[in-house]
Every structure is written in C-alpha cells, then in structure tokens.
C-alpha cells in the first residue's frame, strides 16, 4: 500500500511536470493544473511518510532498474518523519502557488515577478524539486540517493535562473549550482569510500565499516556535503544570493522544504556510521555556533526582506547543527540520552524553521507581487493592507525569533537545555565546545529578537507609505490564504501539540536512538523536559493558555483597580519636539534601526563608513546645497577572506595553464605521451 502510494505520488508529480512542459504557460488552467499535481502528489507522499513513521520499516527492492547493482527504496521511521514534514509543507506551498499562478488579470506590468512565476518550466522545475526531495528521503542505496541529490541540485539551478530580470542573476544561479556540485562531490567521495570498504551500495550496510581514518574521513565528508546544502559556514555563501533569485513563493519551497534533506542526510549518517571521532563533534558544535551568529548578524542588517530571510536560514542551520553536534557528542561518548536530547532539539528546530520559513517566504512573495518591491523600507504597514499575509509574516517572525508561545521558543529552549548538559561529559574539549556553542547560540537568540522585531515593526506594524500601499483586493486568493493560515497557525498549533509532536519524532528517530530514551523528554503528559529527569521543565501547551490569560487578567485588574479611569486615557497628538518639520525622511528607517548592530558587531560585519563629497559641518568643503554622500560598507568575512583569494588563485592557475595550449601538434602529442607514461607508472606501482 505504501509503495503504491509512493509510486502514485511520484507519478503525479511527473505527470504534472510533463503537462507543464507540454502545455506551456499560456493556458491558465494548465498552469494551475501543474501546481495541483504538486498538491496531490505531496498529499500522497505525506500519507506515505506518516504511515512509515508510525509503521514498520519497509524495503522495496527495485532490482537492477538503473543497470548498476541493485537499487532499493527503504521506508523507515526517519525517512517517514522527514517525508511527512516536507510533503506537508509541499501541500501548503503548492496551494499558495495555485493561487499565484491563477488570475490572468494580475499579469499586468506591476506584477513583474508573477509573470516569471508563470513562465515556461517553472512548475516543472518546482515539481522536479519536490520529486527529488522524496527520492532522496526514500533512497535505500547510494545510487538512488545521489541521483535524487543531483536532480535536486539541477532543480535549484533551474529555479534560481528562471527570472532574468535582476542583475547578478546569473552569478546567483551559478553560485547555487557550484555549491550544489561541491556538496554532491563530497557525498560521492564519502559514498565511494564507504562502498569500497563495505563492498555494498546499500546505505544500511555501511554500519559495518569500522572506526578508523577512512570512517572518520567519510563521516567528515558527509557532514561537509550535507552541511553545504543547509548553509553551514563556510559553504553558506550561495544562500543569500540563491534564495532571493528564485521567483516569489518558490523560495519557500527551497528554503523551508528542500533544505530539510540536508538535515535528513546528517541524521541518517549518524544512524548508519555510529560513533564519530571526538574532533568532529567539537568541530560541528563550534561551526554551528559560528554559522548561527554570522547568519543572524547579517540578517539583522539586511535591507531586503528576502535576503534577511535567507540569512536567517543560515542562522537556523547553525542552531540545528549545534543540536546535531550535541547528538554527535553523545554518540562519541556513548550517552544515548545526550543523543536523544540533541537530536530531538535539532529536529524540533528544523520543524519550527521549516514551517516558519515557508510562512515568511510565501508571505514575502505575496507582498512582492502586490507592491513590486522587496525592500523593507518600501513595505511599511503591510499588516494593514494585507492582513492575512501580515499575520503569517508575524507568526513566522515570532517563531524564528524564538519568542513564546511559538514552536520556535520550545525548540530553542530544547537546544539551550541540550547544551547545558555539558557537565555530564568528561572530555574537556567537548565540554568547552558545548559551552562555547551555548554562548554563541545565546548571543544569536538576542540578535534574532532584534532582527525580527525590526521585521514585524517595520513591515507588519509600520506606518504605511500612502504613495505605495496599493489596494489589496483578493489578497493571495482563497487557496493562498488557506496556505498562509495553515503555515502561520502551525507555528502555534505545533507548540500546543508539542507532546504529540515529540512522540511522533521519537518513533521517527528510532533508527538512531531507541524510542524509550527519546520519550524521556515527556516528564508528564503535558510537560516537557530535556530527556534527563529533574533538570528543568516546560509546558508549551499551558504557556499558550497562560500567556493570553495573564494578559487578560492584568487588563481586567488594571481597569477594575483604576475604577475605569484606565480606559479614559487623556489623548493628545504625537509629540515631535515642537519642530516645524524637516525635509526628507524624518523617522527611523529599517536601515537606521539596524545601525546599532552594525556598530556593535562591527567585528563580524566588517563595518566601514565612508563620507564623500565634503566634510560635514565644515563650510569650505561643501559647495552650495551639495550633497555629502554617506556610505556604510559591510564585508562578508568568508567571502572576503576565503573565496575571493581562492578565486584569484584559481584564475591565476587557469591563466597559467592556458599556456599549455600552444596550438602546436608536437606539444599535444608530447602531453599525451606524458599522460600515458604517468598512467602506466601508477598502474605498475599500485599492483
């Protein structure tokens, strides 16, 4: 039954893609049809996922389907857990996309992005992405896994390259493709090493590989390969350019949905490869902390909404990697509770991030299509003109800021609790790494609050610019609203239902850590604890009841105690120091609000300020009514100190190697001869 459903789901996706390519983007019903196929296919896959999570593992042997060894599909709890998450999101996002691609009257010049969204092949690439995600999750052998992985890379490349309107679009899609290839190459190396040692292409057989240099190298390569997909430093550079390059709500699918295969891969290989070398746990913990801080610092100062959300993906990848690092540490020192709390925290964070990120990017897509801009300063007051979109945006932002009573608060609480278990570890290096990661995550949480307060404050609650805020009739369409509401409400509903969510996850994580250990996170039916008993406790469900209750009680008490005077507030107009007014913008801009971060974290951001055209306050410098240009420049440290020198060096080598192409026949024959000799030498030497 599961196999049939899986096949049906994938077939639906394939049929949708075929229909899109065949019928093109000219017919309105055909566009909608392709995304409808996405919705239906995702629903099938979601059912497969839920059944696999709760049911027994199932392996389907595909035989020599692809001509290389035996291919197989394996549906166990872990695959089921991630398949449930990604396909549920796939349903919601596809619903939004159906609305999007819909009404032709929105196809005027104002909706620049919408036109590309409905362009030829967009839906096909989107469906390819959904399908390849499912293939990666259910792959039982290396070949199928890599096939899905490369297909995913191709779909990312297509989606980031569809819009050609923006400058630097080409470099964005090239960066996405390049980092995807790097990730694929690292995985290929790891798989070859493991397959060579174990003599099998079936992933589950690799648990036979014993500890040693090869095991450690393969482990590290797997972390690099999957880390590049989720945005681990220093492989994160494609994200802030790649995600914004994709059209509208497709970004939600890339960042919220597809990125989870990276986490799935990390989890899967933890289960398969078992005990990691200690240094890898230390490295992952520290890299995760650095990734989180770097991501959120850059997110805090972005002027573009999509870049802000993209950088926040990097931040969340860092936090999730820290949780994963705790699990690695637990595996390395043989403490299953530590593995359980680390994985549980990381998985919860991954779920929170996926849902919130999807909500943010779908909402961003709506606003972009209606307002024609993605800059925060242009989107002021969207909460009033677009109440549905604004609410989803606010829900997602609160979740990613880790504020109660959202799921983000629960997951970040879990992450910090997991890191606090460092005293249970004997190894000093590991303890220091956990403490250091804890400090970085705490700092990250602080900056994250600032970042998302800025987002909510300016975009959702801000004062609308009367020139820009156009009417929002038929905002997002009925299906789009349903998608937005389901994504936004999930941020709260999943927190309320967190005991059930944890039980569901515990079953899914069974291939790595026994369900009985993971279930230790439930102290009481509605109370959570970090697996270890008597450490601390939290009840997100009660929080959802208590927080509004307290607010209400306070308001009632205030009104009662003041005998109603509290409601009769004396109101006067806003006060601005009695000034006669100023010319130009006269209140805090989104840029200005983030400026203290630029100053305080100047070491991370490489902040530099330049003044051009005269000296402020000094009369001889500035000609009459001239403008002095004030510029703030930020430097991405990884980009500036790693990739730019590397690129320079590479280009130098390429330049040098051009000399080999002399054009003379004799030289080419000499090269061939040299190569032949080299091959012979190697062959003889290794025999």
């Amino acid at each position: 039954m599961r196999a049939a459903l899986l096949l049906a789901g994938l077939a639906t996706l394939g049929a949708g893609a075929a229909a899109d390519l065949a019928l093109g983007a000219d017919r309105r019903w055909a566009r909608t049809l392709a995304y409808l196929a996405g919705l239906a296919g995702s629903a099938c896959l979601c059912a497969v996922g839920a059944l696999s999570d709760l049911g027994h593992p199932l392996t389907v042997d595909l035989g020599g389907l692809f001509g290389v060894g035996t291919a197989s599909v394996r549906l166990d709890g872990l695959a089921g857990l991630f398949l449930t998450l990604t396909s549920a999101l796939g349903v919601a996002i596809s619903a939004c996309l159906m609305s999007w691609s819909g009404p032709p009257e929105r196809l005027d010049g104002r909706h620049l992005d919408g036109r590309h969204l409905r362009g030829h092949g967009t839906a096909a690439a989107y469906l390819l992405m959904l399908g390849s995600v499912a293939v990666v999750l259910v792959a039982g052998d290396a070949f199928l896994f890599l096939f899905g992985w490369e297909a995913l890379t191709v779909s990312f490349y297509l989606l980031t390259g569809i819009t050609r309107a923006r400058p630097a679009q080409a470099s964005a899609s090239w960066a996405t493709l390049g980092m995807g290839k790097l990730s694929g190459a690292a995985l290929l190396l790891a798989f070859l090493a493991l397959a060579g040692r174990s003599g099998s292409l079936t992933i589950s057989h690799w648990n036979l590989v014993s500890s040693g240099t090869l095991h450690a190298a393969a482990y590290a390569l797997a972390v690099v390969g999957f880390g590049a997909k989720v945005g681990m430093v220093p492989f994160h550079v494609w994200m802030p350019v790649g995600y914004p390059a994709a059209p509208g709500p497709i970004r939600a699918a890339m960042a919220g949905l597809a990125a989870n295969v990276g986490f799935y891969g990390l989890w899967r290989f933890l289960g398969v490869l078992g005990r990691p070398p200690l240094w890898l746990a230390v490295a992952v913990l520290l890299l995760g902390g650095v990734t989180a801080l770097l991501g959120i610092t850059f997110a805090a100062v972005q002027g573009s909404l999509s870049r802000l959300i993209a950088y926040s993906s990097i931040e969340n990848a860092g936090i999730i990697l820290v949780g994963y690092g705790v699990a690695l540490a637990g595996e390395a020192v043989g403490r299953p509770e530590l593995v359980a709390v680390g994985l549980l925290a990381a998985t919860l964070q991954a779920v929170a991030h996926a849902v919130a990120k999807a909500a943010l990017f779908v909402a961003t897509g709506t606003l972009e299509a209606d307002r024609g801009s993605i800059e925060i300063d242009d989107l002021g007051g969207s909460g009033r003109s677009h109440p549905w979109t604004g609410s989803a945006l606010a829900a997602g932002a609160l979740t990613l800021a880790g504020l109660p009573p959202t799921l983000g608060f629960v997951s970040e609480w879990f992450i910090l609790e997991a890191l606090m278990q460092q005293f249970r570890v004997q190894e000093l290096g590991l303890r220091l790494a956990m403490a250091g990661a804890g400090a970085l995550v705490a700092l990250t949480a602080g900056v994250a609050a600032l970042t998302f307060v800025r987002l909510v404050g300016f975009v959702v609650l801000g004062r609308p610019d009367p020139a820009r805020s156009g009417p929002a009739d038929g905002e997002a369409g009925a299906l789009g609203r349903a998608g937005l509401v389901s994504l936004g409400a999930s941020c709260f509903a999943l927190a309320a239902a967190s005991p059930w969510v944890i039980r569901f996850m515990a079953v899914g994580l069974a291939p790595i850590v026994p369900t009985a250990v993971t279930d230790g996170a439930l102290k009481a039916p509605w109370v959570l604890q970090p697996v270890f008993a008597d450490f601390s406790a939290l009840s997100p469900t009660w929080l959802l009841v208590a927080m509004p209750g307290l607010l209400l009680a306070t308001a009632v008490a205030a009104i009662a105690l003041s005998r109603g005077r509290w409601l009769r507030t004396r109101r006067v107009p806003a006060w601005r120091s009695a000034s006669g007014g100023v010319r130009g913008p006269a209140s805090y801009t989104a840029f200005g609000y983030a400026n203290p971060v630029r100053t305080v974290l100047a070491n991370v951001l490489g902040t530099r300020r330049e003044i051009e055209g005269g000296q402020a306050g000094h009369p001889t410098g500035a000609p009459r009514h001239a403008q002095v240009e004030y510029r703030t420049i930020l430097v991405e440290p990884v980009e500036a100190y790693l990739y730019r020198p590397a690129r320079r060096a590479l280009l130098g080598v390429v330049e040098w190697s051009k000399r080999l192409q002399s054009g003379r026949l004799a030289a080419y024959i000499a090269y061939m001869l040299a190569a032949l000799v080299a091959v012979l030498v190697v062959t003889v030497a290794t025999r």
């Binding site: 002027g303 300063d377 601005r576 120091s577 009695a578 000034s579 006669g580 007014g581 100023v582 010319r583 130009g584 913008p585 006269a586 209140s587 805090y588 801009t589 989104a590 840029f591 200005g592 609000y593 983030a594 400026n595 203290p596 100053t599 300020r609 003044i611 000296q615 402020a616 306050g617 000094h618 009369p619 001889t620 410098g621 500035a622 000609p623 009459r624 009514h625 001239a626 403008q627 002095v628 240009e629 004030y630 510029r631 703030t632």
Partner: protein
Amino acid sequence: MTAISPTLRLEPAALVGAVVERVEAPGRFAGLFATARPSGSTELLAVVATDGRLDVLQAHLAPGVSAYPALTPRVPGAYWYEREIHDLFGLVPEGHPRLDPLVLPLAHDAPRPRPGAGQPGPGLMSPDESPLPGLVSGEGLFTIPYGPVRSGVFESVEYLVETPGEDIANLRVRVHHKHRGIEGRFEGRSTADGVLVAERVEGVASVAHAIAYCQAVEGLAGVVVPAPAQLVRVVHAELERVANHLESVIRHTEASGQAVAYARLTLHKERVLRLHGFLCGHRFGRGVVVPGGVANGARLEPDEIGSALDKLARDVDDDLRLLMATPSFLDRLRGTGRLSGDVAASRGALGPVGRGSGLGEDVRRSRPYGAYSLLGFEPAEARSGGDALARQNVRLDEIRTSLELARRAVAELGGQERGPWRVPVVPPDGLGVGWAEAPQGEVLYLVESTGRRLARVKPRSASFHNLALLASALRGDVFTDFAFVEASFGVSIAGVAG
C-alpha cells in the same frame, strides 16, 4: 584701550584679501559684522585679533548694493557671520558655500530689520518655518529634529541630526526660534541704559557682557575706571565664571547619571548664585557694572566675602577631585566630541572650547583689561585632547583660578572699600570696541554713539562663534554622546540667536 588699531577703510572687493593677510600674519578671525546707515548704505566691519591688538577693517557698501565677495571660502570662521548678515541685512555674500538662514529665516524679498538704520522697525517679523534641505544623503539616511522644545530645562534651539541611525552623520543648528532682535533694542538709548540691554543679551554671562559693553563706551570716551571699581568687576566676573563652569560640569553629571555628584554640584552652584546675590542684590550680578565703574561697592565686608570664597573653594575642590576619580563618569567624556586642533585653529575657537583644543588664548591675558594684570592673572594651561574631557579639565582649572582671583581681588579691595566707584562718562560720536573674557570665551562689543545716544551696538558672544563648531566636534560620535558634547561646549543660545 590701546589695543585697537585705527579702523582701516577698504573697498568691499579688497576686504577678503586684507582679512586673509591678517589671519595669516598669524591672527585670528574674530568676526564680521554689518551696520545699516539711515541713508540706506551698509558698512561691513571685519575684526581680526593679532598679537595683542584688534584690527577693525571697514568696507562701505553704497545704497542699492546688495552683494559683496564672500569671506567664507577663504576664511572658514566667517561661515555663520555671513549667514547672519544675510538674514538681518539681505546682503548676499557671493561665493558663500551654503547660505541657509540662521538667525532669522525670511522670504527672499521680505524687508529685513537692518539694525543701525535708525528707522522704526517694519513691525513684527515672523520667521519662515519651512524646513531646510539636508546636507547628507545615503542609504537609510534620515533626519531627527531635536528641539526647539527638548526634554529637560533648556533654551530653545533645534538640532537637526542627519543620521543613518545611531551615528551622527551631520548636525545642522537652527537658532532662529529664539531670535529676539535684541541688537535693535540698544538703538536710541543712552549709554547708561545700554548696559541694561547688554546684561540681557546672554543672561548667564551678564557681567562679562556688561564689562565688554562698558569698556567699549569707556574707551570711546577715554575715561579710566577707578581701581576699586575694577576690583569689584573682577569679583563679579569671576563668580559668574565659576557658576557657568559648574553648570557645564553639572550637565555632564546629569547626562551620565551621577546623581550624588549632580546634587552636590547644583548645591555649590546655588551657593555661588546666593553669594552673588548677597554681594550686589542680584543673583546674576546685574546692575553692578555701569559705564565709568560700578553702581556700588560690595554689600558685604571683605572678610565675610573672603571666608565665603574660601569655604566654597574647599567644598568645590573636594567634590571635583572625587568626580575626576570616578571612572564611569570619565569614560563618557574621554574621546567624546573631539574637535581637532587644526579645525579649532582655522575657525578660531574661543574660550574653553579653544583651550581644550590647544589654543592658549585668553583675552584676560592677551589683551588685558581691568584689574587682571594687577592681580597677576595666569590663564589656565591649554589642553590638546580636543575632547569633552579636555574642555572639562580646562574648566576645572579655571574654577580654581577664578576663585583664587576673586579672593585676591577681595583682599586688594580691603584697603579701598570706600571707593571711588564710578566716574562720569560722556562718549563722543564714534566707534568703540570693547571685549571681555566671558565664561564662554571672548565677548566683543562694537558700540557706535551719535549725539550721546547709541546709534548701533553689535554684541558678539563667544557662544555664536563656538556653536558653529559643534557639527565638526560631533563627527564620528553617536546619539548618546550628544548631551556631553553640547554640555562641554557650554554655549548659551540667547547669545547665539541675538
């Protein structure tokens, strides 16, 4: 008053060259003023201070001439002076980099007050409130209007802070809200009544303004003020300096949240004002200085004053010593509001602002007047830091020297407590120039008398000259530094707006 060279008359076109020549001599540009004549013509008067004397350069603009070559491109210190002249007289300095309105924004073709013209004013002139264009542009730049009504008890002034958030990219100052047209209130009064107006040009430096005004009148009349009167003037001027410098430190302590220090220093300041009141009947020393001397001797016995001054000096010194050992206070001042020595020198910064940026000039010493040379006055040592801390250190030194000077003057006065207090002053027609070192820096008075009446008086407060430098000092600072930089400049807006 031997330190004024005879007025040099020039063509308007030659004015720039003559000023530049004297500033490079080296000298210090001290101000550019204008006076309207009943005939419709206008006189431009540039004052340059060189080596112990003042050079006054005068250029005549015939009726109907409404432009002259601007000084500012070559003499940056003239920046605000030319804006003020444009506002009050409608003259256009050709080549001025930024002729934004300053003290009185009026429509382009509106009639101007033209002080000195002697006609009854054109009725109430309402300034044009329309906003000024900004100077700085860039990503995220916006303008915060701070004032004219600000939090706290301050004089009205509007600071327009151009900022990308937190950092101060540029500061523009609008002082016109407080423009009272007080220069015009001198005209037609007797020289004896003029001092009442002079005392109110800058109310917190009443004594210094009265002295500068009276010395201009006395210089014109050629009278010598009796020695006892000179000593009484010193006592009041120095008490006024102590109160002003304490006020600057008080505002630093307030901005840095030093509650006890704030309470202690405000108590000391209240005692200084009370001593002032007991001495002469007025808490700000008004009514003491009159042309030709002082109105009366001190109302207290020299011993009483002496012991009051001693106690004050002890208490103040004790608290200031502790304040300067409080790291949380000093951290806010160190490096804040740095005014480089080059800018200070090229713009001719005055008083403690100049002395905090390495300029040693103190007119009590460079162009001595009254009893200062008799009392053996040595000016406070200049500091080179240029930051708020350097300016405060200058003020702390001056509080001590001022109390000591007052003590010495009282001791001298002990033998001469019967007067004489004043001599009659009958000024001839002509121009007199007077100066004094106010707490804010050098005060200049240009007094023109015709038929024993004041035809035109131009007071130039150090506040006007120094406030133009505030924007330069704020470069690279953030919002929270603003209160410290403003307090360390210690300007009175009344003296700026006129």
